[in-house]
């Protein structure tokens, strides 16, 4: 697996992680090496094998439709980097 810097740029954009121009090639090589290594999985015949998406046999548990949470905006906002009244605040988003 060889990754190029364009692909790394696309992935970094999806992950919202800034990548410096000068590190793109090195990162591409590094990630490419890891991906090349995990591709050893292609040696395994997995025809007719269902993907294992969860561990354990029990079924999805559910909660009753009861209001037993919320009502504490102070706790919700206690770590906010920026707030305006009871709102979280971020730089203006333009749609």
């Amino acid at each position: 697996m060889v990754l190029n810097r364009v692909t790394v740029g696309r992935i970094a954009a999806l992950a919202r992680i800034d990548i410096a121009e000068e590190e793109a090639d090195a990162l591409a090589a590094e990630l490419g090496a890891i991906l090349g290594w995990v591709e050893t999985l292609n040696e395994v015949d997995t025809d007719d094998i269902a993907p294992m998406t969860s561990v354990g046999g029990h079924s999805l548990p559910w909660r009753a439709d009861e209001v037993d949470d919320g009502g504490y905006p102070d706790r919700i906002l206690s770590n906010a980097p920026d707030a305006a009244g009871a709102f979280f605040a971020v730089p203006k988003v333009v749609e």
């Binding site: 992950a15 992680i17 890891i34 995990v38 395994v44 997995t46 980097p81 920026d82």
Partner: protein, 489 residues
């Protein structure tokens, strides 16, 4: 001398009034300060711990029945959210984060009377096998090699917890294990580390790394202490959909049963190329000890073992890339200032995450992205099923599986940092049980030629921690591991 007291010893000492919980906790808090050179604790909680000790002493004075962990000092990996005490995941991203809530597992320990004394250092967001990816700098293994005297890595990601237990600063600590993060540092530090069955301990309030793999567990100096801790940590939690509705057995009562009649599997695929002779010899010795104690040793095959690590390095980063999306600088944690939101995201996540976390988030993003999902993620999940199936088949023949814990003893601090794949290979023996969700324990079984501890690893059936603990206790007795690291000598 309170230093070497284990959990069971403390229980007995308090009951016979040899010391008070406050005396013990004060002593251990002082020890924490003396252990600063290990860089194993990132936040101390003296008030919390002393208050718990005072409550325990009052309970005793009032003649009330003691709680299972009354006055027991416990260090907590800084991945468990603790109410009112900053919880960082050893990341710049959460440097100032103070959770307004307490994780289920730490709440269970508090309810059992434990005195939580410190939050311990870890690899950032539990991603690593050295505790060197921590924002707070690397933790140090209290063990040193005889030859070079270079400081050694405590392993990771629960390296701070393992180091504090190994240095006898605390009798017990909490870790989390995603691919070996309790067991590998336990082996590196010469202590006992138990990863319970997936679903045994609630994940609620533990900063998530890879949801389908993360599991909390104890790090102690004896198998018995691990059993005592596990009992207090476990139990169904309705707030965690993956928490198992399984009764919590009296794990301590399962001890002392011996291994007579147990069948222990030795998987040939774990005999990997380049395994140090000493480790191979220790593994054989372990099998011999169990045989002498009455177990039957059975050669087994786990044919897909070789593929566990690559499958893990697709599944875990994929889940992590999504689990770490919430660190966006909007509601809590670091925010790098910018004029536009998109710029703010990219800078915040660039600054807040270290190199290894960024690497895994990028790998995870890639393997889930359009056009690659099936080739990587789905493929890995299929292989994961094959690995789980290998174990199911093996457990038709044997009651537990014996392997080494890690392919080497503790490596020098700073090594392997520039070679991710070499670092990942540390987990080669621990990852298969993680993918299958099985309980597994590492216990110290000997020293290598340089005087560094080596661990043996037992894997059991789902929710059969009792057999794992029983077999571990037999190994513990036979190995007679009583060496202490230079740090405490």
């Amino acid at each position: 001398m309170m230093r070497r007291l284990g959990v069971a010893d403390i229980r007995a000492g308090l009951a016979s009034r040899k010391f008070s919980a406050v005396e013990l906790v004060q002593d251990r808090l002082a020890a924490l300060e003396d252990a600063e050179a290990l860089n194993a604790a990132v936040t101390l909680m003296p008030e919390r711990a002393l208050e718990a000790a005072r409550v325990a002493d009052r309970r005793r004075a009032a003649g009330e029945p003691a709680l299972p962990l009354d006055g027991v000092p416990v260090a907590v990996k800084d991945l468990f959210c603790t109410e009112g005490v900053r919880t960082t995941a050893s990341s710049a991203m959460l440097e100032g984060f103070v959770p307004p809530y307490e994780s289920t597992v730490t709440a269970n320990l508090i309810a059992a009377g434990a005195a939580l004394t410190a939050k311990t250092n870890l690899d950032e967001f539990a991603m690593g096998s050295s505790t060197a990816t921590s924002y707070f700098g690397p933790a140090v293994n209290p063990w040193k090699a005889r030859g070079d005297g270079r400081p050694r890595a405590p392993g990771g990601s629960s390296g701070g917890s393992a180091a504090l237990v190994a240095a006898s600063v605390v009798p017990a600590a909490l870790g989390t294990d995603t691919g070996g993060s309790i067991r590998q540092p336990a082996a590196f530090c010469g202590v006992v580390g138990l990863k319970p069955t997936y679903g045994r301990c609630s994940r609620w309030g533990i900063v998530a790394f890879a949801s389908s793999l993360d599991q909390a567990g104890p790090i102690t100096r004896s198998v018995r202490d691990a059993a005592i801790l596990l009992a207090a940590m476990s139990g169904h939690d309705p707030r965690d959909s993956t928490s198992a509705r399984q009764p919590v057995p009296d794990f301590e009562a399962a001890l002392g049963g011996g291994v007579r009649g147990l069948r222990i599997g030795v998987p040939l695929e774990y005999r990997v190329d380049g395994m140090p002779d000493e480790l191979d010899a220790l593994w054989r010795a372990g099998a011999g000890w169990l045989k002498e104690a009455g177990a039957e040793i059975v050669d087994i095959s786990l044919p897909h073992t070789h593929y566990a690590l690559p499958a893990y390095y697709i599944v875990a980063p994929a889940e992590a890339s999504s689990n770490l999306a919430r660190y966006d600088g909007v509601r809590y944690g670091l925010r790098a200032s910018a004029d536009a939101i998109e710029e703010q995201y990219a800078r915040t996540r660039r600054t807040g995450f270290g190199a290894e976390v960024r690497r895994r988030v990028l790998i995870g993003t890639y393997v889930l992205s359009a056009g690659y999902y099936d080739a990587y993620y789905t493929k890995a999940q299929r292989v994961r099923r094959l690995i789980a199936r290998d174990f199911e088949q093996a457990f038709g023949k044997v009651d537990a599986v014996l392997t080494p814990t890690a392919p080497t003893a503790a490596f020098p601090l700073g090594e392997k940092m520039d070679d991710p794949i070499a670092m990942y290979l540390n987990d080669v023996f621990t990852v298969p049980a993680s993918l299958a969700g099985l309980p597994a324990v590492s216990l110290p079984a000997g020293l290598d030629g340089e005087g560094l501890p080596l661990g043996l690893h037992l894997i059991g059936r789902p929710f059969d921690e009792e057999t794992v603990l029983r077999a571990a206790e037999a190994l513990e007795a036979a190995a007679g591991f009583d060496a202490e690291p230079e740090f405490v000598r």
